[in-house]
C-alpha cells in the first residue's frame, strides 16, 4: 500500500498532461470547444492533479473523498476568477453544488464535430448509425479507460448504464435517470457529467430549470434559456464526488413552467429529453485490496461494475479435457455472475497477461512466469496479488491432477462462500444430487405455478404516481414448451390499486415482451365492496381504500419467448383538474402481489430442432440439464487459445442462462466422439481443423466441400417426413453457404443439426477460422442486438450481421403424450383425420349394421 502511494507520488503532473492529450485525441471528446474551454479543461486537469496530490500527501485513506473534495474546492476557487463572486455559478447562471467548478457553458451538441462552433447550432441529435453504435459499444472490464496514477478514468454513456432509450421528462416535475455503481475496490474522485439534452421552447426561462440529482441531492442546476430551446445541447457538469457512493442514482429533474398564471401540471409543452448518449466521466482511485478468498467473486467480478466482464483464463500448459472442463465450470460461474453484462474469457497458455486480473489453471508440476504457486496437496483454490505494475489479482485453480482441478473448479463454482484466506484445499466435494432436466435455477420452474415473489424483488412490484413506469418481471422460459393449441401460460394476478374516485379510463395493461396481452380496468369501486369484511367495516373494523383484485390472464403462446419480460403498467387517468388546480397529487399507487403466479406446468416439453435461436438465447438444448451433464464439447484438433476462448465464452453463456455452473460438461476431440453418442454435442473449430465437419458432412445443413449436391432433396424418406410434419415442420431451404466462406476467413458459421450418432441428440457447431471471425462469433453470442437474429439451422455471421441460410432438417426432442402428438399431427393433416373418421364410420356402421340386423331378426321371429 505504501509502495503504491509512493509510486503515484513520483509522477503527479505527467498523467494530467496525458489526460489532456487523450481527451483531445478521443473522437468523442466534444467538450473541447473553444479556446477558453481548453483553458478550462487544463484548469480542471490541474485541479484534478492537485486533488490527487493532496490526497497522496494527506494520505488519510478513509476520508479520501472528503479530502479530494476539499482540495478541489481549494484549487478551484482561485482557478476560476469568473466565478469568484458566486462560487459554483457559471456565467449563465448554471450552478454546481459542492466544492466543484460550475457547470460548463451549454453548447449545441454536435456529435460529429470534434470542434464545436462557438455558438449553439440546431443539429440532429444522433444519426441512426451513431445510435446503433451507442447500443453496441460494450466496454469490458479489461478496458480500464484511461489510466491515471493510482486509478483510472472512464466514460460510460447512459446507454452503457442501462438507459436503452432517451430519458423523457414530462410535467412540472418530471424526473428520470440512470443508476450507476462503483466497484468495491475503487472510489470516485472526480465526476463529470456530459449531459446532452433538449427542452421545450415553451418553458419560461426564469422559472424553469433542469436539476441534476445524485442520490437525491441536487448536484447541479441548469438554466433553460429560451435561445437554445428545442435544439439538442450539451453541457459538462462537474459532480461532487462526495455524493457518489457504491450504488448511485443519477437523476435529471425538469422543473418546468410555461406560464405564470394558472397552469396545467400535465401540460404537454412541459417536456425535456435527455439523450442516452449523455455520458458520465468518472475518475476512480483504486483502493488496495488484500487477496482474500472470502471476497470472491471480487475482485474478479464486481456486480457494481456495469461493464462486460473480460477475465483472462490462463492455462499453465496445454490443457487436457478435464482441465478444460474445470475451466468451463469456472467460466460458467463467472458467466452466471456477469448475467446481462456478458462475459469474455480470453485464454492464454503458458503465460499470464501483462496486467489485470486473471484465472490460472495449473497442475502441481506446472511452471508459470511471474506466478508462484502455493504448495499443492489436493484440489486447491487460491488468490494471489500480482506485482505492482500488473495491477490485479490471480485466481488460482490448482490440483495434482486434472481431476483435482475439476474438483477445485466445482468447489469454487458451487460453494463460493465457504472460503477464506488466500488459499484453501478442497477436501471432499460432497456429491451433489444429480440434476434433473429443466431445474436450472434461473429458469422458470415448469412443474408448478411460480410466485412473482420468486422472480422479482418485492419492492420492484409496486409503483407510485401517474407517470410510473411498468412493473417488470423477467423470466427465463424453457424454449421447448409445447404450447400448441393452448391459450397460453396462465397468470393468476392479484393486484392492488388506488380506487378511482369516479369511473375513468384507468387500467392496468399487461404486456409480454412489449406485446400487449390484456388491459384490466381499474374501477372506481373496490371490487370487494360488498364483502362481509366490508360490512363489518361499518362496525369499526378497519378497511382500506385500496382495491384488491384477482384476475386470471392467459399469455398467448407466441408471446412467451425464452427470455420474457412481463410488464404490468398501471395507467391512472389523470384527473382533469384543469388550470389553477395546482400541483398534481401523485397519490396513486399500484402493486402486484408477490403471491401472483405464472403457471406453465401444464405444457409438455417438445420442440422442433434445429433452432439456433433457442441455442443463442438459452443455450438450449445443452442447458436442459443445468450442469450440462448431457453435453460434450468437441474441440478441434490442435486447438488454439482462440478455440479455448470461444469454448469458455459458450460455457459462460450457459452459466448465464441457467445460473448454475456447468459441473457436468465433458470435453473431447473428434477422436472421442463415439463415446459421446448419448450426449448433445457442441462442436468448435473450422475446416481443416475439425474432422467431423468432413465425416458428418451429410448430416449437416450445409455442404462440407462447397457442393450443394450433397442435399438429398429427392430422397423419398425425407419427403415423407416433411409431409408428416406438414406445415409445422420447418421448411428446408437449399443452403447457400458452405465452408469455403469460413476457409476464406470471411465469416463464421453457426449450424445446428441432429447428431449422426443418435437420433434425438443435437449438435451445434460453431465454425470459425482462427482470427477475426472468432471475435465475430463472440459478438454474435453476446450482443443483444445480434443475438435475436440467430435463427434456424444455419447462420452466417459476417461482421455484425447474421444471415439465416437454412432451416435444416427438422427433428424433434422431448416427449409428447401419444394423444397430444396425434392431435398435433392430425391438426395439420385434415385428410388423414378425415380418413380416420371415415374408417371409424365404416367400422361402427358395420357393427351397428350387424347388431341392428340381429335385433330385427329377433324381433320378427317372435
Amino acid at each position: 500500500m505504501r509502495s503504491r502511494d509512493g509510486s503515484g507520488e513520483g509522477r503527479p503532473v505527467r498523467p494530467a498532461a496525458s489526460t489532456r492529450q487523450v481527451d483531445a485525441a478521443t473522437p468523442d471528446a466534444t467538450r473541447v470547444s473553444h479556446a477558453s474551454r481548453v483553458s478550462h479543461v487544463s484548469r480542471l486537469a490541474r485541479a484534478l492533479a492537485c486533488c490527487l496530490a493532496a490526497q497522496l500527501v494527506l494520505a488519510p485513506f478513509v476520508c479520501t473523498a472528503e479530502a479530494a473534495a476539499a482540495s478541489a474546492r481549494a484549487a478551484s476557487a482561485p482557478a476560476s476568477p469568473s466565478a469568484a463572486t458566486a462560487p459554483g455559478r457559471a456565467a449563465d447562471g448554471a450552478t454546481a453544488v459542492g466544492a466543484v467548478p460550475p457547470p460548463g457553458p451549454a453548447a449545441a451538441f454536435n456529435p460529429q464535430a470534434a470542434q464545436q462552433p462557438p455558438l449553439a447550432l440546431p443539429v440532429p441529435a444522433l444519426t441512426a448509425q451513431q445510435r446503433k453504435l451507442l447500443a453496441t459499444r460494450a466496454p469490458t472490464t479489461a478496458n480500464p479507460g484511461t489510466l491515471v496514477p493510482g486509478g483510472r478514468r472512464q466514460t460510460l454513456t447512459f446507454a452503457d448504464l442501462g438507459a436503452q432509450d432517451p430519458l423523457q421528462l414530462r410535467g412540472i416535475e418530471g424526473i428520470n435517470g440512470v443508476p450507476f455503481s462503483v466497484r468495491n475496490d475503487e472510489v470516485v474522485t472526480g465526476a463529470v457529467l456530459h449531459l446532452i439534452y433538449s427542452y421545450s421552447p415553451a418553458l419560461l426561462p426564469d422559472l424553469s430549470q433542469l436539476n441534476v440529482l445524485v442520490n437525491g441531492e441536487v448536484a447541479a442546476t441548469l438554466p433553460l434559456p429560451h435561445e437554445q430551446a428545442g435544439i439538442t445541447v450539451a453541457r459538462d457538469i462537474t459532480l461532487d464526488p462526495r455524493f457518489i457512493t457504491e450504488f448511485n442514482h443519477l437523476n435529471v429533474e425538469l422543473i418546468g413552467h410555461y406560464t405564470r398564471r394558472c397552469e396545467d401540471p400535465a401540460h404537454s409543452t412541459l417536456w425535456a429529453t435527455v439523450s442516452n448518449a449523455s455520458s458520465l466521466d468518472l475518475t476512480y482511485s483504486s483502493l488496495p485490496v488484500k487477496p482474500d478468498l472470502g471476497a470472491l467473486p471480487q475482485p474478479f467480478f464486481d456486480r457494481r461494475d456495469v461493464r462486460r466482464l473480460e477475465l483472462p483464463f490462463v492455462f499453465a500448459s496445454k490443457p487436457d479435457p478435464d482441465t478444460l472442463a474445470a475451466a468451463g465450470t469456472v467460466a460458467s460461474w463467472f458467466g452466471s455472475l456477469a448475467g446481462y453484462r456478458g462475459a469474455l474469457f480470453p485464454a492464454q497458455v503458458g503465460n499470464v497477461p501483462l496486467s489485470g486480473d486473471a484465472v490460472v489453471f495449473a497442475l502441481a508440476d506446472a511452471h508459470l512466469d511471474d506466478v508462484t504457486l502455493p504448495e499443492i496437496t489436493g484440489p486447491t483454490i487460491a488468490v494471489a496479488a500480482r506485482g505492482e505494475t500488473a495491477r490485479g489479482q490471480l485466481l488460482l485453480v490448482l490440483g495434482r491432477s486434472s481431476e483435482e482441478l475439476r474438483t477445485a473448479a466445482s468447489a469454487l463454482a458451487l460453494g463460493q462462500n465457504t472460503f477464506s484466506g488466500t488459499s484453501v484445499t478442497v477436501g471432499q466435494l460432497t456429491t451433489l444430487k444429480p440434476r434433473v432436466p429443466y431445474d436450472a435455477p434461473r429458469w422458470l420452474p415448469t412443474n408448478r405455478p411460480v410466485r412473482f415473489g420468486e422472480l422479482a424483488e418485492k419492492n420492484a412490484l409496486s409503483v407510485t404516481g401517474y407517470y410510473a413506469g411498468p412493473i417488470t418481471v423477467n423470466m427465463h422460459v424453457p424454449p421447448d414448451l409445447f404450447m400448441w393449441n393452448t391459450k397460453g401460460a396462465r397468470l393468476d394476478l392479484r393486484y392492488r390499486y388506488t380506487v378511482r374516485p369516479r369511473p375513468d379510463r384507468s387500467s392496468m395493461n399487461i404486456s409480454m415482451n412489449n406485446s400487449f396481452v390484456q388491459a384490466l380496468p381499474i374501477p372506481a369501486i373496490s371490487p370487494s365492496r360488498f364483502s362481509l369484511k366490508d360490512l363489518l367495516g361499518r362496525f369499526g373494523v378497519e378497511t382500506s381504500g385500496t382495491g384488491v383484485a384477482r384476475r386470471f390472464v392467459r399469455v398467448p403462446p407466441l408471446l412467451l419467448t425464452p427470455r420474457s419480460t412481463l410488464r404490468m403498467h398501471f395507467f391512472y387517468d389523470i384527473p382533469n383538474t384543469g388550470e389553477c388546480a395546482g400541483r398534481l397529487m401523485q397519490n396513486v399507487e399500484g402493486a402486484i402481489d408477490p403471491d401472483s403466479t405464472i403457471d406453465v406446468s401444464s405444457f409438455p416439453h417438445y420442440m422442433a430442432l434445429p433452432d439456433l435461436a433457442a441455442f443463442a438465447n438459452s443455450g438450449f438444448p445443452f442447458t436442459r440439464m443445468a450442469d450440462l451433464s448431457r453435453t460434450a464439447v468437441v474441440l478441434p484438433d490442435d486447438p488454439t487459445p482462440g478455440d479455448y476462448s470461444l469454448y469458455l465464452l459458450a460455457m459462460g453463456r450457459m452459466g448465464e442462462s441457467t445460473g448454475y455452473p456447468v459441473t457436468g460438461v465433458t470435453v473431447g476431440t473428434a477422436a472421442d466422439v463415439n463415446r459421446f453418442a448419448d450426449k448433445d454435442l457442441l462442436m468448435l473449430g473450422g475446416p481443416g481443423r475439425q474432422p467431423l465437419l468432413q465425416s458428418w458432412a451429410k448430416s449437416m445443413p450445409f455442404s462440407g466441400d462447397g457442393e450443394t449436391s450433397t442435399f438429398r432433396l429427392s430422397d423419398l424418406a425425407f419427403r415423407l417426413q416433411d409431409w408428416w410434419h406438414g406445415p409445422r415442420g420447418v421448411e428446408r431451404a437449399p443452403a447457400r453457404a458452405d465452408l469455403s466462406l469460413v476457409s476464406n476467413g470471411g465469416a463464421a458459421l453457426i449450424a445446428g443439426f441432429e447428431s449422426p450418432l443418435r437420433s434425438g441428440r443435437s449438435v451445434v457447431a460453431l465454425i470459425a477460422a482462427p482470427g477475426e471471425p472468432e471475435a465475430e462469433m463472440n459478438a454474435a453470442l453476446l450482443d443483444a442486438d445480434v443475438l435475436p437474429s440467430i435463427q434456424g439451422a444455419m447462420n452466417v455471421i459476417h461482421g455484425r450481421s447474421v444471415t439465416v441460410t437454412s432451416n435444416g432438417e427438422a427433428y424433434y426432442i422431448g416427449y409428447l403424450s401419444p394423444i397430444e402428438y396425434l392431435r398435433w399431427i392430425f391438426s395439420s393433416h385434415p385428410l388423414l383425420l378425415m380418413l380416420g373418421g371415415v374408417i371409424a364410420a365404416i367400422v361402427i356402421a358395420a357393427l351397428f349394421y350387424r347388431m341392428l340386423r340381429a335385433i330385427a331378426a329377433r324381433r320378427l321371429k317372435d
Partner: protein, 732 residues
C-alpha cells in the same frame, strides 16, 4: 331410388359395402374389439382435433363428398355410414361450439349466446336420438291368421265419440261392419260420450252396440275404460270415430298376436285422405308428405325395432288381458295412448307396428284445429315425461328409453325453434356477438353439421318427410306449444284439455290473423333486422370481419324469413270446395244411363257424396242427367242412383241422390273399406331432393309473404267497408 331394402339384406351381398359388413372378420371378437377401439380413438380425434380454417375446409368438404358418394350406394349399410358421417360432423361441431365459442364478452352476449348454445345442444341431441330411433325401420309384414276360423280370437271394436256429428261416425261404423271377420267373433261398440239419441237410434238400426256412461271423466280414455268393463272380447280394436277401417284390418293385425304371446298392442298408421291445413293452404296435398307421415312411415317403424312402438289412440289392436293388467287405458295424461303403451312396456309386454295403412280418416280441417291437436300431444308427452319419465323407472330396455325420450323431447322444440328464429336478431339489433368466433369459422364448422344432417335425413326420410318442411311445421307450431310444454314441465296439471274438432268445412278463403300473429311478429322483427343488417354493412365497410358476420346473420335472417313466410302461408286458409273430401282411386265402375245405355269406365276419385269418372273417347254426358252407378266389391255389384253434377269431355262428376242406409253401407264397403284403399297413396310422388324441397319451401315462403300483404290490403278494405267485423265467420 329407394332407401329401404327388404329384410333379406342379411343374406344378400348387395353392394361392395354390404360385403364389408358381412365379412367373416366380424366373427372374431378380437378383431371386433381392436376395430372398435381404433374407431373410438379415431372418433375422439375427429371430434376434438382443432383445425385452422383451410384445414377444416378440406376436412369438411372431403367428408361431405364422401357422404354424397355413399348416398348413391343402396342399402342400409351405406345409410348407416352416412349416419356415422353425420354424427362425426355434428360431434365435431358441438365440441368446437362448446369449447371454443362459449366465451362471451358481456353478460348480454352471454345470455343470448347461452340460449343459442342450449338450443343447438337440444337440436343435436334430438338429431342423434332420431338417428337411433329410425336407423332400422323393421318393416314388419302381416302374420297370417290360422287357416281355421275357429281358432280366430274374439274382438271388440271400439269407436269412441263425443261431439262429432253422426255423418262423420257413420262411415266408420259401416266400415267396421264391413270388416272381413266372423261376425260372431267380432262385436262393434260405439262409445258415445255425447249420450245422443240419434246415435243410439242409428246403432240399433245398423246393429252395433251403443254404449254410454254417466260421466265424461278422463275423456276418451275413461270412455274406453268404461267400455272395457262391459265387454269381453280377447282383443280390442280402437278406431277414432272418423277413422274408417278397411275390411282387412282385423285379419292383417291379429296374426301377430297369436304368434307373439307377449304382444300387447299393434299399431297401424293413421292415414288421412283429406288434406291437412298445411297441404291445403300450401297446395302440397299428395305432392309433399304431410306432417304425420314421418311419424307413421318411419318413426313408429323404427321404434318397432326397439320394441318401442307406442299406441296412438286409434287404428290399433290391443290385447285385453294386458290392458286390464295395467288398469285399463292410462288416464293420468292427455296423451293416454302413448302412456298406455309405456305402461305396458314397463310390464315387459311388447308392441308392434304394421306400416300398412288399414284405416283412413279426415285430417283436421283448419290450422287452428291442427295446432290445438299438436298442443295436446305436446302437453301430454310432457306430462308423461314428468310423471312417468321413461329414463327412470323399471322395466324398459335402453332402446325403449331412448325412443320414448326422443318421442317426448321432440315436443320441446318450441323454445329452441324460437331461439333459432330470433338468434341473428341479437346481432342485427343489438350487435351482440352471440358466437365467439369469426363468421368463416362458424360457417366452416356449422355448415357441415347441417349439410350432413340434411343429406342423411333426406335419405332416411325420403318417402316420409321432405327436407326443410320440418322447419316450416315447427315454425308454425313453435310459438303455440312452447307455453303448454313449459307449463307442463313445471307442473303436469297445468294447462287444459281440448278436443280436436273434425268434419267442418271452411267455406271461404280467409287469412287467420289471430293464429298467425306470432309469425307475423317474428317476421316483422326479422324484416327489421334484415334492413338494419344492410345499414350495419354500409357503416362497417372498412371492417371485413364485421361485414362477414353481418352477411352470415343476414343469410340466416333471410332463411328465417322465408320459413316464417311459409308458416304465414299455412295460416292463409283456403276455401274447402267440397264438403266431402275426394279420394283419388282408380276402380272399375259401370254407368247405366236412363236411356238404358251402359258404360264401363274407371273412377278418378270418390267421396262420400259421389264419384268422379273418366269417360272413354272424350265422351261428354249432359249435366243433371240421372245415372245408376255400379261399384264392385269382388264379384258383387252395388248400384247407386246419382245425377251428373259436373261434366266435361272425358270426365264427369256424379252426385249420389237418395241413398238409403244400406246403400251408404254398400258404398263404404266398395270404396273406403277396400283392403288396398290406401296402400298406393304415395305412388307418383317424387322422392325427396333437398334442393328441390328447399326451393319448394322458399317458394311457399315467398308466396306467404306476398299473401300477407294481399290479405292485409283486402281485409283492411273490408274492415273499412263493413265497419269493423271482418272475421266474424271464421271461428271454427
Amino acid at each position: 331410388m329407394s332407401t329401404v331394402q327388404s329384410d333379406s339384406a342379411a343374406t344378400s351381398s348387395g353392394s361392395p359395402l354390404d360385403r364389408i359388413a358381412n365379412a367373416r372378420i366380424w366373427n372374431s371378437r378380437v378383431v371386433v374389439a381392436i376395430l372398435t377401439l381404433f374407431s373410438l380413438c379415431a372418433l375422439y380425434f375427429v371430434f376434438t382435433v382443432p383445425l385452422e380454417n383451410p384445414e377444416q375446409l378440406v376436412f369438411a368438404v372431403s367428408c361431405f363428398i364422401l357422404a354424397l358418394l355413399f348416398r348413391r350406394v343402396e342399402g342400409r349399410y351405406a345409410m348407416l355410414v352416412m349416419i356415422m358421417l353425420s354424427v362425426i360432423a355434428t360431434g365435431r361441431y358441438m365440441y368446437w361450439r362448446l369449447t371454443v365459442t362459449t366465451a362471451w364478452a358481456s353478460p348480454f352476449d352471454a345470455a343470448w349466446g347461452l340460449g343459442l348454445v342450449l338450443a343447438e345442444v337440444y337440436a343435436a341431441i334430438v338429431l342423434l336420438l332420431g338417428y337411433f330411433q329410425t336407423a332400422w325401420p323393421l318393416h314388419r309384414k302381416p302374420f297370417p291368421l290360422p287357416a281355421s276360423r275357429a281358432e280366430w280370437p274374439t274382438v271388440d271394436v271400439f269407436i269412441p265419440t263425443y261431439n262429432e256429428p253422426l255423418s262423420v261416425v257413420k262411415p266408420t261404423v259401416y266400415a267396421a261392419l264391413a270388416m272381413d271377420y266372423p261376425p260372431e267373433k267380432m262385436s262393434i261398440h260405439v262409445l258415445d260420450d255425447g249420450r245422443r239419441p240419434e246415435f243410439k237410434a242409428f246403432c240399433e238400426e245398423v246393429g252395433v252396440n251403443w254404449t254410454t256412461r254417466t260421466n265424461n271423466l278422463h275423456a276418451k280414455a275413461g270412455n274406453i275404460n268404461a267400455a272395457l268393463k262391459i265387454t269381453n272380447g280377447e282383443y280390442l280394436a280402437i278406431f277414432d270415430c272418423d277413422h274408417i277401417p278397411t275390411r282387412s284390418f282385423l285379419q292383417i293385425c291379429l296374426g301377430w298376436f297369436l304368434h307373439d304371446t307377449k304382444l300387447s298392442m299393434l299399431q297401424t298408421p293413421h292415414h288421412f285422405f283429406s288434406p291437412d291445413p298445411f297441404e291445403r293452404n300450401l297446395g302440397t296435398f299428395r305432392k309433399v308428405p304431410n306432417e304425420g307421415e314421418l311419424f307413421y312411415g318411419l318413426v313408429q317403424d323404427g321404434n318397432d325395432l326397439w320394441n318401442a312402438t307406442f299406441f296412438c289412440g286409434s287404428c290399433a289392436v290391443l290385447r285385453r288381458s294386458m290392458v286390464e293388467e295395467i288398469g285399463g287405458i292410462a288416464v293420468e295424461t292427455v296423451t293416454e295412448d302413448a302412456h298406455t303403451a309405456l305402461k305396458m312396456h314397463r310390464r315387459g309386454h311388447t308392441t308392434a307396428y304394421l306400416a300398412i295403412p288399414q284405416a283412413a280418416g279426415l285430417a283436421t280441417e283448419s290450422l287452428s284445429g291442427h295446432i290445438g291437436q299438436r298442443i295436446r300431444w305436446a302437453r301430454g308427452m310432457t306430462q308423461i315425461f314428468r310423471i312417468d319419465n321413461p329414463l327412470s323407472g323399471k322395466g324398459l330396455t335402453f332402446g325403449q328409453r331412448l325412443c320414448y325420450l326422443n318421442a317426448m323431447s321432440h315436443f320441446f322444440y318450441g323454445i329452441p325453434r324460437l331461439v333459432f328464429l330470433t338468434a341473428p336478431l341479437a346481432f342485427l339489433f343489438f350487435g351482440a356477438h352471440v358466437i365467439q368466433a369469426s363468421a368463416e369459422s362458424i360457417a366452416l364448422f356449422a355448415l357441415p353439421h347441417m349439410f350432413h344432417a340434411n343429406v342423411t335425413n333426406s335419405r332416411m326420410q325420403s318417402k316420409y318427410r321432405h327436407s326443410f318442411w320440418a322447419e316450416v311445421y315447427e315454425a308454425v307450431l313453435a310459438s303455440y306449444i312452447t307455453g303448454p310444454t313449459v307449463l307442463a314441465l313445471i307442473n303436469p296439471r297445468l294447462g287444459k284439455f281440448n278436443v280436436t274438432a273434425k268434419g267442418g268445412k271452411i267455406t271461404e278463403t280467409y287469412f287467420d290473423w289471430a293464429i298467425s300473429r306470432p309469425y307475423l311478429i317474428l317476421m316483422l322483427l326479422n324484416l327489421l333486422g334484415f334492413v338494419l343488417g344492410f345499414v350495419h354493412i354500409y357503416n362497417n365497410l372498412h371492417l371485413p370481419s364485421e361485414v362477414n358476420t353481418t352477411i352470415l346473420n343476414l343469410a340466416w335472417t333471410l332463411y328465417n324469413m322465408l320459413i316464417l313466410g311459409a308458416a304465414v302461408a299455412a295460416a292463409n286458409e283456403h276455401k274447402q270446395v267440397r264438403s266431402d273430401p275426394r279420394v283419388a282411386m282408380k276402380m272399375p265402375v259401370m254407368l247405366r244411363f236412363s236411356t238404358g245405355r251402359t258404360l264401363a269406365c274407371e273412377t278418378i276419385d270418390y267421396s262420400e257424396g259421389g264419384v268422379g269418372v273418366a269417360l272413354p273417347q272424350g265422351i261428354q254426358v249432359p249435366m243433371y242427367e240421372n245415372v245408376m252407378v255400379s261399384l264392385f266389391r269382388g264379384n258383387e255389384e252395388y248400384a247407386f242412383a246419382a245425377t251428373v253434377s259436373f261434366s266435361e269431355p272425358g270426365r264427369a262428376g256424379l252426385h249420389f241422390v237418395g241413398m238409403s242406409k244400406a246403400q251408404e253401407f254398400d258404398f263404404v264397403k266398395t270404396t273406403f273399406s277396400r283392403a288396398d284403399a290406401w296402400t298406393s297413396w304415395a305412388d307418383g310422388r317424387q322422392p325427396d331432393a333437398p334442393l328441390r324441397a328447399l326451393s319448394q319451401v322458399l317458394r311457399a315462403g315467398a308466396l306467404g309473404i306476398s299473401g300477407v300483404f294481399q290479405h292485409l290490403y283486402s281485409d283492411l278494405r273490408a274492415l273499412v267497408r263493413r265497419g269493423g267485423r271482418p272475421t266474424e265467420q271464421k271461428d271454427s
